[in-house]
Structures are given as structure tokens and as C-alpha cells.
């Protein structure tokens, strides 16, 4: 295995922020949520990311406020530690080492200094059995404390964090698993179990999904698979317990939450409707519909004024006073799959991929923030399981970013396929894409590839489909309508073979279409079949043309582990190599081509130029599983690395998506250093919430600061000059009434600032320096004059 110390893989594009229940701080100003290996802190009013709490070495599995100090927060992680943080300043206060992977954490005000953790059963470390344990956190001055005194509270609990809840004033804890509700009373040290029948009759699924206890009364609310909510009362004995049933959800109840005063019960599920049940008047309920995606967690601020809901599309919604959505914190949406490739929007340089169902998301890689969602399907999304919905399966931008083409399809079981091809024009005014043309059923079968011609003269789109044809679409200019629409220009095929991929050459003069084993090369100007290339065995899976100096080469990857490179000038095979290439990606700014190969369950990466036999860079065992999507994103600033191994990262950066939907990229050491430096510069005063007012005021203050700096800076620079400093000191410290005339002083002053040209230090920036000096001189002169006048 080749290891390059200078290049390493880094995670990009937002971790899951909907993994665990978020926490709102006591003053309702901040929202804390577990995000991968750190805890992110957001402002609730502006939805801005404030900072993160870094320290855990594995997935963070729970965040709770310290009940005894509301400025501190506990976090637990699968790395077996519980950490105590000061979240306002992002300071790690203490680390408690537990030694087992922790799945969730519970605290109660009554049990000070004790945290309740869900850990795997000690005996069966690998099995799926979990227990709830109480851990006394030792008081000690050390930063790292070992806390290994675990006392089991409940055995066999669910690892799901919503499956346990503290009751009134921490007197009991209720946990659910499967068909059983277990309540443990701390005073009596006794637990009661209540079971439901499996209830398979009438399609009812009685299994528990979540539990929440009323904060003031003895009442437990449990959610169930079939959408029912049960309110348990009188459960401090085995026999005469009662429950009442509430039913509104048609899918499983994902989460339940009582408001701090216990007046309302909130519930959410796949319907993406937040339901408020009025406690004691359960037939009265309010709804907050169309929140975008299935609700996974609900949290309420300690004063009850803010609700926040986590959604399955990696989003946290903050809801003000029960009715109004006030802020949305959106991460990179990771849906069920990415059918569109990773694409870079040429205009905004944002990464474009499937977002919410039926949407394309534009994600800024630079700011790690979602820019916007483009609704492609434009249909009401029905939140119901088992429905065939329209999905965006292909998307493509033209070279300038003026046009976006999307393909959406919906396959019904046993019915024919519905496909729509949509073309969107970029509207300068609204800075967004506007639907221009919809083509229903552009092909009779699935569309396998879609590309715009990169040539600047014509805007042409080519689609290939499993129905054995490829079609070229052109923008038909219509004189009487002010806007043109798209129409089919050419339908091509080759011996009724199914085309699987296509590629345009860099200048758009050639189009190659892979028809199973045969590669055909067409001229888009005349639609003439220029040549056919074939290198059996194996169907062609991916095709790409070389760029710049290598534009005479055409590369093809076949299913039978062959990577071929044809020379288009001689129409002959230049070289071929046995490689199981799953993906070929060209860098638009250089000759480099990245090939992802899958070998024995993991992926390898090779970066090479078609003209050179040796790869520029190779990395074995990149990640497990096949890499299906990758893209070269152009950099804002070119890196100036001269080292051969990292040179390919100079112009653009390679992003790729693993099977587990992790967005990864390659980064060099120099780049990381630079990023670190810039982040330090950008550090702001975090204790103040970032409100518009603050921004305004902060800007003003910043300007003032800058001014001060501008005033102090020249001094600093001046002190560097040995002769200048003395002269100016003399000049400024002499009383004004004994000074000679300003015109005389000026000449002397300027002479004192001049530097002999032989000085080697300023060789490069001499002119810049001189201009700066002159400005300085004029400033000084003005100051001087003012001084004299005032005297």
C-alpha cells in the first residue's frame, strides 16, 4: 500500500445533523446538535453556524444540558467517553472515560452528578443487547477522569435515544422495547413491566417506538408503529393501570415530546406534520403541516417558547410559538441515493445533486452550506411509505450554466415508465432556473446518459436511452415567441444496440456513443457516423475524451475489466490495461483523468494522463464498496504545489461519494495549513448572537478597528526602518513652535524614508513599497500641517 503523507482524504459536505435530538440552551439562543464527531452550535435566531465542540474521536451519540449548570453540556460518543463542555466558549471542561461505546445519555435534575447511559451488555459486547446504566461522575480536578463505576438500572433496553425518558421530577424512568413498557421507580428500586399483545390482527402493529413522560404528572405517553399514541396512567402498580389511545398518524410515531409545563404533547412521524395535542383535552389538536420531510426528533426549549424538529432530510427546523417556522438549518441532504452524478454548477461553482425528493440541491462546497433547492418535479410530495414518487435521475448543465436539463422518472409496479425531460433556463433577474420546456416521454425507456455539448456556438443536448436510440435536442429559435423552446433534432441508433454512455469531445466537434461493445464516433455538425471502434469483450461502461494536449485520445472502460485508450487520429487502439474501472472522470482544467477501480470490495484511485504510461497518483483501498460518483471541482485559487504527486490537485479538487453516501475529497498539507490560518483570522466574538443588528454594529466596529489599525500600522512599519524612525520621532516630538517651515521639513522627512535600491530585501516588492511609502509620507505631512496650524 502506497501512503502519501502529503495527501489525505477528508470528509466534506456536512455530517448528519439529524442523527440525534438537538438541544436548545436555557436562554434559547443556541441550538446544539450532534454532527458526526463533533457537536455543532448554531444560533437559533439567525440559523448561523457559530462554532463546534471538537474532541470526540467517534460518532457523537447524544447531547444533553448539564442539569446543575445550564452553561455546560454533556456529550457522549461511541468512543466510550462522556465529555463536559462550556458551549459558549467551546471549551472542553472534563472527559469521563467509560470504556464502552455509548449509545445515548439521559440526565435528571434529581440525580445530580449521575448520568444514565445506554451501553452494550458487558457480557455480550458484540451482540445487539443493551442496558441502561447509571454512572457517578467523580469529582476530580483532572481533565481526564476514569469513571468505571457502572450500576445497571435496566437490562435489555433499546439503543434508540427516544426509547427512554425520565418521569416527574426524576422519580422514575420509563423505557420501551418491542412490545414492552418498563417503568423503574428509583425510590422503591422496583420496576413494573406492561406488555401489549402483538396485535397482528386488523393490521395493527402495537410495537412501541418512543416514549415521553409528563413533567408534572404521572403520565407516560408512548408512540407506536401503527401511528397510535397511548397515555398510560396509574402505572405504579402491576394491576390497575389504565391507558387511553390517541390516533391521528397513519405511519409510525417517530417521536414524542411534552412541553416543559406539560400542557401540550408534540408528536411527529413520516407525514412531516407536527401535531400538538392539548393535554387533558386530547380531541383538540393543532397541526403544522408540510415541514418538508419525515420528523425524526422533536426538542423543546426549557422555557417552552421554541420547538425544534429534526427531519430525515438532514434538516433542523426551529418553530416559534407553535405556529411559525422561524429558521431552518439545512445540511447536505443525503437521500436514499444519488441518481444524478455529482455535478458542478458552472455559475455558482456549487455541487449539484439529488436533494429532497424531487428536488436538486445546490450545495456550496466552499462554505459547506446548502445554497438552495430547485424543485424539479413540482408536485405535491405525499409523505407515505410505499408510494412510487417521481425522482430526478439525470441532470446536466451546459458549459456556461445558462441551461439545466433534468430527467425525472417514475416507475410504477407493472405499469409503463413515466419519464419527463425538463429544460431550465437561467434567469438573471431572479438568479434561479426557470422551466422552459417539458418533454413528456422523450424516450421509450430509461435514459442512460445525458450531456450538453461543450461547444460555445450551439446549445445541444444529447440523451441516450435503453430503447436503442440517442437523441439530440436543439434550442429552436422562434421568431414570434420571445423565448425559444427545445425540440428534437436528430435520432440516431446503431444496429438496434442499446447505448449506455456518451461523451462529447472538449470542443464539441465529436460525440462518442457507446453501444454495448461498440464505440461509435459521430460528428454533431452533420450527424454522420465517422467511425466505429470496438475492443471486445465486454460492454462499454464509461467513455471520456482527453482534454487539452490529450484531446486526440478517447478512453473507454468496459465491464470486462478493460480500460482502453484509442487514438482518434489513427482510429486505432493506443493502449489498454486490465482494470475494473467503475468510474472515469476528467478534470476540465487539465489533462488528468481519474479512474476509480473496484477491487476485492474496496475502491482504488488512479490519476493519470492518457499520453503518459505512468499514473500521476494512485491510492489503494480508498474506501469500502464501489465509488459511483465523483467530480472535479475547480478551485477558486490555484495552488502552487510543485511536487509531482500533488500537482494534479493544483487546479481542481476531486470530490467523490462513497457507497455510504459520505462526501470525501483529497487535501494537501499546504492547503490545510492555509485553511487553518484563514479560519483563525475569521474568528469572531462568539458570545454575541449573530443578529442583523450585530452584523451592522459589528461592521461599524470593525471599520473603526481597521481605522485604528491603519493608524497604528504605519507606525509599526516605520519602526522597522532604522533611519526613518529616528527622523520621524525627532520630527513629531519636537515642539511645534521650534520647528522650521513644513516645506523644508517635508524634503528632509522624505529623504529619511528613502531606501537605497541596492537593498536586496525589497527586490520584488520595491515598487509596491515605494508607493506605500509615498502615501505614508503624504499622511504624515498632513498630520504635521494640522499640528502646526493648531499651534
Amino acid at each position: 500500500m502506497v501512503v502519501h503523507a502529503e495527501i489525505r482524504m477528508v470528509h466534506r459536505g456536512g455530517s448528519k445533523i439529524n442523527f440525534r435530538e438537538p438541544v436548545i440552551t436555557h436562554d434559547s439562543r443556541f441550538l446544539l446538535c450532534a454532527a458526526g464527531e463533533s457537536v455543532n452550535v448554531y444560533s437559533t435566531s439567525t440559523e448561523e453556524y457559530v462554532h463546534d465542540l471538537q474532541g470526540h474521536t467517534d460518532l457523537v451519540t447524544g447531547v444533553v444540558l448539564n442539569p446543575s449548570n445550564h452553561l455546560q453540556v454533556y456529550s457522549c460518543s461511541a468512543d466510550g467517553t462522556v465529555r463536559l463542555w462550556d458551549f459558549t466558549d467551546a471549551i472542553l471542561i472534563k472527559t469521563f472515560i467509560i470504556g464502552y461505546p455509548i449509545y445515548s445519555i439521559y440526565v435528571s435534575e434529581k440525580h445530580g452528578g449521575v448520568v444514565f447511559l445506554v451501553v452494550p451488555m458487558a457480557n455480550y459486547k458484540s451482540s445487539e443487547l443493551f442496558q441502561l446504566v447509571a454512572v457517578h461522575l467523580p469529582h476530580s480536578g483532572d481533565q481526564e477522569v476514569e469513571a468505571r463505576e457502572l450500576s445497571a438500572v435496566l437490562c435489555d433496553v433499546s439503543h434508540h435515544p427516544g426509547a427512554a425518558s425520565f418521569g416527574r421530577e426524576g422519580e422514575y424512568i420509563a423505557a420501551v422495547k418491542g412490545l414492552q413498557l418498563e417503568v423503574f421507580f428509583f425510590k422503591k428500586q422496583k420496576s413494573y413491566r406492561f406488555s401489549l399483545k402483538s396485535g397482528m390482527k386488523k393490521g395493527a402493529k402495537n410495537a412501541f417506538t418512543c416514549v415521553s413522560c409528563h413533567p408534572k404528572e404521572d403520565c407516560i405517553a408512548t408512540g407506536h408503529e401503527d401511528g397510535k399514541i397511548r397515555m398510560w396512567r396509574n402505572f405504579n402498580q402491576k394491576k390497575e393501570y389504565t391507558y387511553s389511545t390517541l390516533h391521528w398518524h397513519h405511519g409510525a410515531v417517530n417521536t414524542l415530546c411534552f412541553t416543559p409545563e406539560g400542557t401540550n404533547l408534540l408528536s411527529g412521524g413520516i407525514e412531516s406534520v407536527l401535531v400538538h395535542w392539548h393535554y387533558t383535552q386530547e380531541n383538540q389538536k393543532d397541526f403544522l403541516p408540510r415541514l418538508g420531510a419525515a420528523i425524526t426528533h422533536i426538542a423543546v426549549s426549557p422555557d417552552g417558547s421554541l420547538f425544534c424538529t429534526s427531519h430525515s432530510d438532514n434538516k433542523i427546523t426551529i418553530i416559534q410559538s407553535c405556529v411559525k417556522v422561524s429558521a431552518v438549518i439545512q445540511g447536505l441532504v443525503k437521500g436514499d441515493g444519488v441518481w444524478t452524478n455529482l455535478i458542478i454548477d458552472p455559475r455558482s461553482k456549487a455541487l449539484v445533486l439529488n436533494g429532497k425528493p424531487g428536488h436538486l440541491q445546490f450545495y456550496s462546497l466552499h462554505h459547506d452550506k446548502q445554497l438552495y433547492n430547485l424543485d424539479i418535479v413540482q408536485q405535491e410530495y405525499i409523505h407515505e411509505e410505499g408510494l412510487d414518487q417521481f425522482e430526478v435521475v439525470k441532470a446536466a448543465f451546459d458549459a456556461r450554466g445558462d441551461w439545466l436539463a433534468t430527467v425525472e422518472e417514475r416507475r410504477k409496479k407493472g405499469a409503463e415508465l413515466e419519464i419527463n425531460l425538463k429544460l431550465w433556463a437561467y434567469d438573471e433577474l431572479t438568479q434561479s432556473f426557470v422551466l422552459n420546456t417539458t418533454v413528456t416521454a422523450p424516450h421509450e425507456d430509461r435514459i442512460t446518459a445525458m450531456f450538453f455539448s461543450p461547444s460555445p456556438e450551439t446549445t445541444m443536448l444529447v440523451t441516450t436511452s435503453l430503447d436503442g436510440h440517442f437523441k439530440a435536442w436543439l434550442l429552436a429559435d422562434h421568431s414570434d415567441a420571445n423565448e425559444g423552446f427545445w425540440a428534437c433534432d436528430f435520432v440516431g441508433g446503431y444496429h438496434l444496440l442499446k447505448p449506455g454512455c456518451c461523451s462529447f469531445s472538449a470542443d464539441g466537434s465529436l460525440l462518442s456513443v457507446g453501444f454495448q461493445e461498440v464505440v461509435t464516433v459521430w460528428s454533431p455538425a452533420s450527424w454522420e457516423l465517422l467511425t466505429t471502434l470496438s475492443q471486445p469483450p465486454g460492454a462499454i461502461r464509461d467513455l471520456c475524451f482527453g482534454r487539452l494536449s490529450c484531446s486526440k485520445y478517447l478512453l473507454g472502460a468496459s465491464t470486462k475489466n478493460q480500460l482502453c485508450c484509442w487514438n482518434l487520429l489513427t482510429c486505432s487502439l493506443e493502449w489498454s490495461t486490465p482494470m475494473d474501472v467503475s468510474l472515469l472522470q476528467t478534470d476540465p482544467l487539465s489533462e488528468n483523468i481519474a479512474a476509480f477501480c473496484s477491487q476485492s470490495g474496496s475502491s482504488d484511485l488512479f490519476v493519470f494522463k492518457p499520453s503518459e504510461p505512468r499514473p500521476l497518483y494512485s491510492q489503494k483501498a480508498l474506501c469500502t464498496g464501489k465509488v459511483q460518483h465523483a467530480v472535479f471541482a475547480p478551485r477558486d485559487q490555484m495552488l502552487e504545489s510543485c511536487e509531482e504527486r500533488t500537482q494534479w490537485l493544483n487546479r481542481s479538487q476531486l470530490y467523490f461519494l462513497t457507497q455510504h453516501m459520505d462526501l470525501l475529497t483529497f487535501s494537501t498539507k499546504t492547503e490545510e495549513d492555509r485553511l487553518l490560518a484563514s479560519s483563525k483570522q475569521l474568528m469572531v466574538d462568539d458570545s454575541v448572537a449573530v443578529t442583523p443588528f450585530y452584523l451592522l454594529l459589528g461592521k461599524h466596529r470593525g471599520q473603526q478597528l481597521e481605522k485604528q489599525e491603519a493608524l497604528t500600522n504605519p507606525m509599526a512599519e516605520r519602526t522597522q526602518l532604522p533611519q526613518g524612525s529616528i527622523a520621524i520621532k525627532e520630527l513629531l516630538h519636537t515642539p511645534a513652535h521650534v520647528l522650521p517651515s513644513a516645506s523644508f521639513l517635508c524634503a528632509m522627512f522624505v529623504r529619511s524614508l528613502l531606501i537605497s535600491s541596492s537593498s536586496a530585501r525589497f527586490k520584488s516588492g520595491l515598487w509596491l513599497y515605494h508607493s506605500r511609502t509615498l502615501r505614508l509620507v503624504s499622511d504624515m505631512y498632513c498630520q504635521l500641517r494640522d499640528q502646526i496650524i493648531s499651534n
Binding site: 418538508g292 467511425t531 466505429t532 482510429c571
Partner: protein, 509 residues
């Protein structure tokens, strides 16, 4: 929190002809007035004098109608046999007509008896016309001759016997008193100059010529014969300019619209076609009930008069602008503009406090019901009779939406006889429409699934089901035929395409 997205109603391209200025112009005529004549109407001629009466030659009579009269203002009946070609002189005072009995008669428009009788032809005279100086008459006859007559002393001036078949059309130049053109069944057009002995120009139409027409500039000549209309350039020595073949039966009559921009041709195929004279494309088309023999347009296109073989004379008058305005006035019952924009164009002043009101999006009734998941009600709304009949795309779009939600079956179920027959009626009307077929076939299958248990309980529904079955069977046969035709065309195209060799790297090197 996103708002409800309404059901997308697809916009289908409008089929049929496009609305052009020409269609608007030529559609702006009232319903035709029909007058029954005694026989086939062979000729219609408008007087150039003010009220623009027109002479209609049919059978043994010539009727003169006023512009808006349905009764003839004057009748000439002194013909022994069928009359032909009643023509006004350019001053509107005299009328000339030929007759099957070879005699040409000249009438005073106010009199009854013929002023002059020209005898000399040996067979029926089908063509008569005045020369531009008003003193001579041109006649063309079935005895293959065309002659010029002097009006004052009713003598024959010249006779040309160059045609070798019946002369059935002819016209005189309006600019030169000596030039005239005749067309004959011998397929030729001849241009004569009275000052020379022989024809000065001959053009071959290659079909028996039925009608000739000179452009006002007299540089171009139009001839009609067989299914063809041909345009000749006289200034280039009779060079053919265009040949139009837009009729599928013999073209019998030609006419120019008043401004000379449009050419009209009438044919035995019961159509009148209107051509643009710059590119000779058909811009409009009139249909009539019977084969057309004659056609004339009043000055300024005020009316179109068409005579047919069944003796019906059809007159279409142009709609006057006052009537048009009246029609618009009746429709308009909406509030006037002033009330409509009340307060909307108010420009906020400097110190005004702006209260923004959320724009309430209007949802259609079916969308409101869909929003509340009232699926059956939404389908009922979409099936309301006016929507079903006038905007079937809405009904189909709602069905598609329900299908997407997986609830179409529930919405279709539980309907009573009346409701079901309504639904089946809609299916029968639209299931074979290619725009709606994919959705409606699914709906049909569901209906059959749901209601198969109750088949036979209602005679109305049973009848409709049988009709539906027949319809589907017919459509299947039709599609089969279409596929066969497609296969035939494919073979034809495949044989006609030249085989092109694609260079292959392996074969050449």
C-alpha cells in the same frame, strides 16, 4: 413550511390551423345568403358602378341583384337557349351575354330588349367581354373562333381561328384596347393583338383551360385548367412562373381580391382556396355545399358571391364594424378598469408604514379537496360536466394525481349507477385520445376490476361497457393497421437509402 403545490395541468399544443391575419380577415363574413336559380350558375359579374349590382347568368336568364337584395332587381329573359357570360361594361351601362344559340346580345341595363344582336358564330358563345375603349366586344365560341365586334354598327371587325378546340374563357386588357387573351380546351392560352392578323403569344397550359385572369398591372396572367392553376409572366414572353396544384378536381374560376394581394380559385371539389400572391401559399380555404362554377368578389371584398352546379347562389357579406362592436358590448359585464385597479396603483409616500399582506394563492376546487385528502370529492369535482366536456385535460390530470398518490382505486370505488355511467361516458369519449390514453387505460382497468361483480345489474352501465369494448377493439385494429403501414414505409425508405460504408479500423488497415 412549503405551500401546497397545485396539480399540474399539462398544456397541450393546439391542433388545427393557426390563427393568422388572413384567417381573421376571411372569417369575418356573415353566414351566407342562399338564392336558388333555375340552373347551374355559370357566370357572375359585378358592375363597377356605385351600388355594385351583379349579373348572375344561370340557365336562360340573367338576373341582376342589388348588393343586399335577395330578389333580382332586373331580369333579362330574351334568350332562346342557355345564356353564358353576362358581363357589364366598365361604365355599368351596357351588358353583353353569349348564348348557346350562337347569338351575342347586348342590353341596356335599364331596358329589356336587346340593343344589338351580333350574329356570325356558328356554335354557342361562352365568352363575351368589352374592350377597354368600350366600343368593341370580344366573343369566343365553341366553333373555335374568337371575334371582335363593333358596337355602334354591330359588325364583325376581325375573326381569329387559331384555337383547335372550344374557347371557354377569355379576358380583355384593361390598359390596352387592342389586346385580349383567350383560353381554350386545346390546352393553349393565346394573346391576340387586334392590330395584327395572328396571335402574338401562345402558352401551353397542358390542361383544358377553364379560366384566365389578368393581374391589374397586366404583367402576370393566371390560368386555371384541370387541377392546376398556373401563373405566367407576360413580360418575359409567357414564361411559366408557378404551377399550383391545391385542388383535387377541375378548377373552374379565378378571382383577385380587391387589393390584388390574394388570389382566389374555385373548383368542382367544392372548395375556394385563397393564395398569397407573393409566395403562392394557400392562406385560407372556404368550403361549399356543391361544385363551384363561378366566383366573384365585390369591390373592397364587401361580399363573396359563389355560383354552384346545383343552381344555388351563395352570397357572403362582410361583417360591418358596428355589428362587431355590438357583439363585444354584450359580452362585457365586468367592472370597468377604474374600479378594477382601485387603490392598486397607489404609490406609498415617504412616511407611510407598509403593512405587507401575504399573497393568498388561489387553489382550484379540486386542489382544495386534494389538499384535504378528500379524494372521492376531488374526482367528483373534476368530473363535473362542464369540466369533463370542455377541459378533459383537467379531469385526466386529477386522475393522474390520484394514481400517483395510489388512491385512484379508492376514489373510483363506491359509485352509484348515475355516477358510474358518467364516468364511463367520459372514458368512452377520451380513452382513445393519445394524450390521455396512458392514464385512462389504468382507470378503465380499475373500474372493470371494481365493478365486475355488479355487471348485469344496470342496463345503462351494461350498454356503456359494451360500447367501451367495441371502441377498444376498433382502436386495437386501427393501431394494427397503422403498424402495418409503418412497416411498409420502413421497407420503402430502407431500399431507397444508399448504403454507406463506415470506415472501420480493422478492415482497411
Amino acid at each position: 413550511m412549503a405551500s401546497f403545490k397545485s396539480t399540474k395541468i399539462p398544456i397541450y399544443p393546439k391542433l388545427g390551423e393557426k390563427v393568422t391575419p388572413d384567417t381573421l380577415y376571411w372569417k369575418n363574413y356573415k353566414a351566407p345568403v342562399q338564392i336558388k336559380e333555375f340552373g347551374a350558375v355559370t357566370s357572375i359579374d359585378f358592375s363597377s358602378l356605385a351600388p355594385h349590382n351583379y349579373a348572375v347568368t344561370a340557365s336562360t336568364r340573367i338576373h341582376i341583384y342589388g348588393p343586399f337584395s335577395t330578389e333580382p332587381v332586373k331580369t333579362f329573359t330574351r334568350f332562346k337557349d342557355t345564356a353564358y357570360s353576362g358581363k357589364f361594361r366598365s361604365d355599368g351601362q351596357l351588358l353583353v351575354a353569349g348564348c348557346e344559340d350562337s347569338v351575342v346580345r347586348l342590353f341596356d341595363v335599364s331596358g329589356k330588349v336587346a340593343l344589338r344582336v351580333f350574329k356570325g358564330h356558328t356554335k354557342g358563345v361562352h365568352v363575351t367581354d368589352f374592350t377597354s375603349d368600350c366600343y368593341h366586344i370580344l366573343t369566343g365560341s365553341d366553333d373555335y373562333t374568337c371575334r371582335l365586334w363593333d358596337i355602334p354598327n354591330s359588325t364583325e371587325l376581325t375573326s381569329y381561328k387559331e384555337h383547335t378546340d372550344y374557347i371557354r374563357c377569355g379576358t380583355t386588357s384593361k390598359l390596352n384596347r387592342d389586346i385580349f387573351i383567350t383560353g381554350s380546351y386545346d390546352h393553349t392560352l393565346r394573346v391576340f393583338d387586334a392590330r395584327v392578323e395572328k396571335s402574338v403569344m401562345t402558352m401551353d397550359h397542358s390542361q383544358p383551360v377553364e379560366s384566365v385572369l389578368l393581374y391589374p398591372s397586366e404583367g402576370l396572367l393566371v390560368s386555371a385548367g384541370g387541377r392546376y392553376v398556373k401563373v405566367w409572366d407576360l413580360l418575359k414572353g409567357g414564361q411559366p412562373l408557378v404551377s399550383l396544384k391545391n385542388h383535387h378536381k377541375t378548377v373552374t374560376c379565378l378571382s383577385l381580391s380587391s387589393n390584388g394581394q390574394r388570389l382566389l380559385s374555385a373548383s368542382l371539389d367544392r372548395h375556394v382556396k385563397i393564395y398569397n400572391t407573393t409566395n403562392y401559399k394557400v392562406v385560407h380555404n372556404f368550403d361549399y355545399a356543391a361544385s363551384i362554377l363561378s366566383l366573384a368578389l365585390a369591390p373592397d371584398d364587401e361580399s363573396i358571391v359563389v355560383g354552384m352546379t346545383n343552381g344555388v347562389l351563395s352570397i357572403k357579406h362582410r361583417k360591418s364594424p358596428e355589428e362587431k362592436r355590438e357583439m363585444v358590448g354584450k359580452q362585457r359585464m365586468q367592472p370597468v378598469y377604474r374600479i378594477f385597479v382601485k387603490g392598486r396603483n397607489y404609490v406609498p409616500k415617504k412616511d407611510d408604514f407598509l403593512v405587507s399582506k401575504p399573497v393568498k394563492s388561489h387553489l382550484a376546487k379540486y386542489d382544495k379537496q386534494l389538499k384535504k385528502f378528500n379524494i372521492s370529492k376531488a374526482l367528483d369535482t373534476a368530473l363535473e360536466s362542464w369540466r369533463r366536456n370542455r377541459k378533459p385535460e383537467i379531469t385526466v390530470a386529477v386522475m393522474k394525481e390520484l394514481d400517483r398518490r395510489g388512491t385512484l382505486k379508492n376514489a373510483l370505488a363506491g359509485r352509484d349507477e348515475q355516477n358510474l355511467s358518467q364516468l364511463l361516458n367520459f372514458l368512452i369519449g377520451n380513452v382513445v385520445d393519445p394524450r390521455f390514453t396512458p392514464v385512462l387505460v389504468t382507470a378503465t382497468e380499475m373500474i372493470l376490476d371494481i365493478y365486475q361483480a355488479v355487471v348485469g345489474q344496470s342496463s345503462v352501465v351494461d350498454r356503456q361497457l359494451v360500447r367501451l369494448q367495441e371502441l377498444v377493439e376498433r382502436e386495437v385494429d386501427y393501431q394494427q393497421d397503422l403498424l402495418e403501414v409503418l412497416g411498409m414505409l420502413d421497407t420503402l425508405f430502407a431500399t431507397s437509402l444508399p448504403r454507406k460504408e463506415v470506415p472501420c479500423p480493422g478492415s482497411s488497415r
